[in-house]
Structures are given as structure tokens and as C-alpha cells.
Symmetry: C3
Subunit: 248 residues, 3 copies
């Protein structure tokens, strides 16, 4: 059993966050809220989302799983204006989720989740942590476009750097320590630097809402972890992105 | 002889209403106003328009016919801002219509109307009539997109429904009787329901100006008739759309 | 040596003006400012630009030449908001121009200018001169679209005309003498008229900022010269466009 009401903006945020990696997703539903773990088809990036029942306008659910085609959910979101409430109710007899927006009823076939794996989100202990506004990441990505397919992220005692090195051209954005929201790194003068595929990094960052503070955990030649919350703190997201090994 | 001045917004509305079905059109011009009847190339939908001379800023005409390529008229409309007056004058010697917008003169070759048939607009007596805001129709169309190629319209004593049934998914929008502008149907508990091609229905509705009240006449497995007025009531439009027969 | 700061809007204006004709350009830099001359690949149009050091927020330079790929400079402009200052500094050791916008550093490889010719801008003495708002030219171009590939410009004692003659249709925009900003032509009743390729003329006019007064010099079957200034008068531009000879 699953029955809930949610603000269209909150559902839109959730769909954006997940659909950057996959089209069909398995939600694990329980009395306290909803969670999902997903990996992209190329196994380069992962996402983990936990949404507390408090993120919903109303919520009641037993333990169940719901498989959804996110493109169809985007179609439902187009029927709602900002501020509208969308109601969802599982129809277990027919294997459907029933959305209601205003005077519209949309009965959506559920995706079979039996073949969907439950990816294990690795527990990583990464050496450096910073908090940064998503707008800084976006600006660094814009500066890197059409220079190279990779972006290097570096944390050292000075601050945080996004940089991009092409055959003839280069770009870098430096956010000094005092401009970061926070910064933690081990004592000493070590720099932590990993290289990532620019398209993946750009797609993940594009899905993060404007104005969000992103927690970044970075090490050298290790995956990057990006954490942020949405739905007024009632939704938690972690992205994990595999590094590219530098050949030089 | 035909010489008239018209607000660019009025001419734009007229062109939108007709160009959704055909590119070249024959206007029947007379001292009291202008009319046209047209059927789309696949003979699925028809439009009939009557514009009173009062819809124009100035108007003088004898009985004549004027054939126009509506794409060219759209080009003239791009030269005018909202609120501009467009003047039109027939140049019978050269077979042209001369448009003037501000300090621009645009001489447009008239389309030969001799081969254009005058479609007969069938007189139908349809059992149910409702008046509804065009925005409700638009919302029902949006809900139906990518579910099926057909949309079903139903009138019963409860109100009006647009619904769409796909292989696995479905959508419906219900406008209850009290939300309709008006509703007339025979006594008894009969429902009137016809199925229409979604693309045609969507195109016709898209051409109706925002905020317009549309009169819908509906029967079972019969064409739908949609009536509305524009140009502050000085233009009257009727669309007729053939039904698809349900195979079930 | 070249080191300067410039408002992003000024640099954007400059790039628009030149990139309508060519992608890679050689700037001739000196202590007093920057100049460039360029001809399009088909040798139909030329541009000459002179920018005074006063157009910059700060400026210091020796005699040098700088070759730039304007698409890359457009990429830098996307990193700046209106009102931002962009700094540029030549790195002679590495053959690069270093742009700085906010906390971004963009090192751009310079284009080799050794193979780039220095086109000679012909000294023409054209019979008629008018000053006209660029918006009038834009409106005349819009009226000519999809009628013909050529546009005729005429100056006579009545004023200025842009006209376009197709096989069946025609359009013209007349700006009477009193609506022009100024007009100079020899005594007598001569008209000066030349025909130009519409696409070239439209592209040049599109690159001229809104609200600009354009000085037009026109003769019969001669190139047209269009002069205007930007950067609050500190930048001067001349376009030259070859005529098409009328065959009739």
C-alpha cells in the first residue's frame, strides 16, 4: 500500500535528480519514507536518495516497491503548475500508480522491478571535504566546455579548483578557502586531485537545484562523492562518480 | 473591389484559425463581410468562418473572391507589432493584394481560386451541447499525449470527460456539470461519446485563442462541432471533426 | 606586450561585429588601440574596425599582432554577465592570450597570423550619404524575406528605399527624407540604386547593435559602405558590401 500527496516542485526536483542517470527506477517504499539506489547503464555514476515522509503533504505506506518510468512521470509534471499538489495512490490489483492533478486522473503502468538489481553503495572514507555553492561548480563546468572531455578537481590548503587541460587551451576556476562554505582536510600540505569525465560531472551538477550547498568529498584518484539535501531538508541525495585515471 | 484595414491581432487570430487545416484558402468577400469554408487535405476536419465588416477598422468591398497563401500572410504579420493596423487593398489589374504596415508596402500575388472547391458544411443535429473554457480542452490534450493516438469525448448528466486509453496507461480529465459554462442534453441518463484522432483535435484546439469559451456539440460516433467567436464577437468560427470508429 | 581590461558588453559587441564575416581574425595592436581589417571567405564583404584605448577599462600595449578564434572568445563571453569586466593579457612565451573573468582563468592558444593577408580597404567616393536608424534596415530586411535573394537600396531626393522584387511578389520600405537622421546627395534629380545579396546584407545589419545610427554611403552599381560607432564612440566600424549587377 502506498498513498501520498506531494508538491509538484518537490516531485520535479526528485525526478530531475534521478533521471540524469537512469530512465526506469525502483523506489523502496516504507512507512517512514521512500529510498532508491541506482547506477547508470555504464556503471560510472551512482545515486542514493532518501526522502522522509515529512517531504510529502500527506503520506501513508506499507513496505512495498514501486517501479516507475521517469519519462512518464515528467509527463504528469507537465500537467501541474508550480505549487500544485499531486496525489499518488498504488492500485495493487492492476499494477498501476494513479496520479491525480486537479481534475486529471493519470493511471500509470508500473515497471516490473523483479529484474532490477539493488546496487551496493560503497562506503568510502575520502580525505578531504568541502561545502560549496552549486553555482561555482556550474561556472567551472561552463569554463571547461569545448576544451577537454575531462575535468580535474583539486582540494589543497588554499581552497578548491576545477580545471581543464586541452591540447592547446586550458581553463581553471579557483574558489579560495575563505569563499568555501566549509573545508576539512588532514594536516600537512597534501593536495587531493582526481580527474572525472566532464559530461557525467556536468549532468550530475545540472540536476542539483539552484542555490543548493553541495558537500564534496574528494581524494586522489578516487571516486568523488557529492551530498546535498532537497525538499527543505527532508530529502537527502548522494552522488558517486568514478574517476578517470590520468595517463601521464 | 476590396479595401480594408484590420488590427494585426485580429488578422493573426484569423490566420491561426484557418492555417491549422490548410495553407491556401479562398475568401468569399462581400459588402457585409468575409466568409470562408475549407476542408483539410485528408478530409477529416472542416472549418467555416464568417467575419462581419465590423471586425475591421475600415471596410469597403463588392462581391469578389480572394485566394491567399497563408504562409505569406504570416510573413506580413511578422512585420506588425501588436496594436498595429494593417491595410489591405485588392489590385484587380495585377491579381494582387497590397498590404501596408507602417512604411512597408507588400504586394502579394493572389492564388488562383478557380480550382478550389467550395466544401459543403453538413447540417448536423447533435444531441448534446456544452460550453467550456478552451484551457480545459488544452489540459485534457496535454494529459493524453504519448498515451494513445485517440481521445474520447463524453458528455453525460455528470458533466464532460476527455479520456485516453493506451495499452497499459490511461488518462482522463473530468469537468463536472457545475464547472461547465452551460450544458444541454436530452432527458434521461444517456451518455454521448465519440472518439477522435488526437493530433487533429489538438491542432484545432491549439488555434483557439486563450480565454475563449468554446461551444461543443457532441453525439455518439458522430462528428464533433466546436463553435467560438473572435474579434470581439464579430468573427464566428465552426470546426467540424470526423470521429474514429471504435473497434472493440 | 598587450594587457587590457574591457567590459564584457563591449567585447561582445566587437565579437558580433566581426564574427558575422569571419571566424579567425588578426588584431593589430598598438599603444593607442586596436584595429583589424577582414574580408569574408567569398570576398563579397569587408569590415574595418578601430578601437581606441579609451574603449577599455585599462589598456597598455606595444606594437604586436594577436590572432584569435572568435568562437573561443564567445565561449569566454558566456562566462561573464553583463557589466562584468574581462581582463586579457598576452603570454608571449607560450603564444597564448590569458582571459580572466571573476575567479576563472582561461588560457587561449593564439591563431598563427603569418598566413593571414591584410586586405586593402578600397577608398571609394560614393555619391549619396544618409544616416538612418538600424531598426529601419532590420524592418526592410524582414519585409524582403522569402521574396527574393536580393535587396535593392535606393536614395533619391524623396528619401531612402529598401525594395525586393520576386517573380510574383514584391515588398518595399520607404523612409522619407524627413524621417532620416540626415541626407546628402548631389544637386539634381538623380536616384542612386544598387542591388545586394540579401543574406549578406541581413547578416551585416544583424551585427549592428540596436539603437545605432548607421551612416550609409550609396552609389549606382557600386559597393555600399555602412559606418557606425560602438563602445560609446570609442570604436568605429565600416562595412563594405559588393553589389550584384542587375541583369535586365
Amino acid at each position: 500500500m502506498f498513498k501520498a500527496e506531494i508538491k509538484s516542485d518537490t516531485l520535479k526536483g526528485l525526478v530531475n535528480i534521478v533521471s540524469t542517470l537512469i530512465d526506469e527506477v525502483k523506489f523502496t517504499v516504507g512507512p517512514e519514507g521512500i529510498s532508491l539506489k541506482a547506477v547508470d547503464p555504464a556503471h560510472v555514476a551512482m545515486v542514493e536518495v532518501n526522502i522522509d515522509a515529512a517531504a510529502f503533504e500527506s503520506y501513508s505506506a506499507d513496505e512495498t516497491t514501486i517501479g516507475l518510468d521517469l519519462d512518464k512521470v515528467k509527463g504528469v509534471l507537465k500537467l501541474a503548475s508550480s505549487g500544485d499538489i499531486i496525489s499518488m495512490e498504488q492500485d495493487e490489483d492492476h499494477g498501476k500508480l494513479v496520479f491525480r492533478v486537479g481534475n486529471i486522473t493519470r493511471r500509470m503502468h508500473l515497471v516490473d522491478t523483479s529484474g532490477m538489481s539493488d546496487p551496493r553503495f560503497p562506503q568510502l572514507s575520502l580525505s578531504s571535504k568541502i561545502d560549496i555553492l552549486v553555482e561555482e561548480l556550474q561556472q567551472g563546468i561552463r569554463a571547461s566546455e569545448s576544451i577537454s572531455d575531462h575535468i580535474a578537481l583539486t582540494v589543497n590548503s588554499q581552497g578548491f579548483e576545477l580545471s581543464c587541460e586541452g591540447d592547446t587551451d586550458s581553463a581553471s576556476l579557483i574558489v579560495s578557502k575563505d569563499k568555501l562554505k566549509s573545508m576539512e582536510l588532514p594536516d600537512g600540505d597534501t593536495a587531493f586531485r582526481s580527474l572525472f569525465p566532464l559530461d557525467y560531472f556536468a549532468n550530475l551538477v545540472k540536476a542539483i537545484p539552484t542555490g543548493t550547498t553541495v558537500g564534496i568529498e574528494l581524494d586522489s584518484d578516487y571516486p568523488i562523492k557529492m551530498n546535498f539535501s532537497f525538499a527543505e531538508g527532508n530529502g537527502k541525495v548522494s552522488y558517486l562518480l568514478a574517476p578517470r585515471i590520468e595517463s601521464d
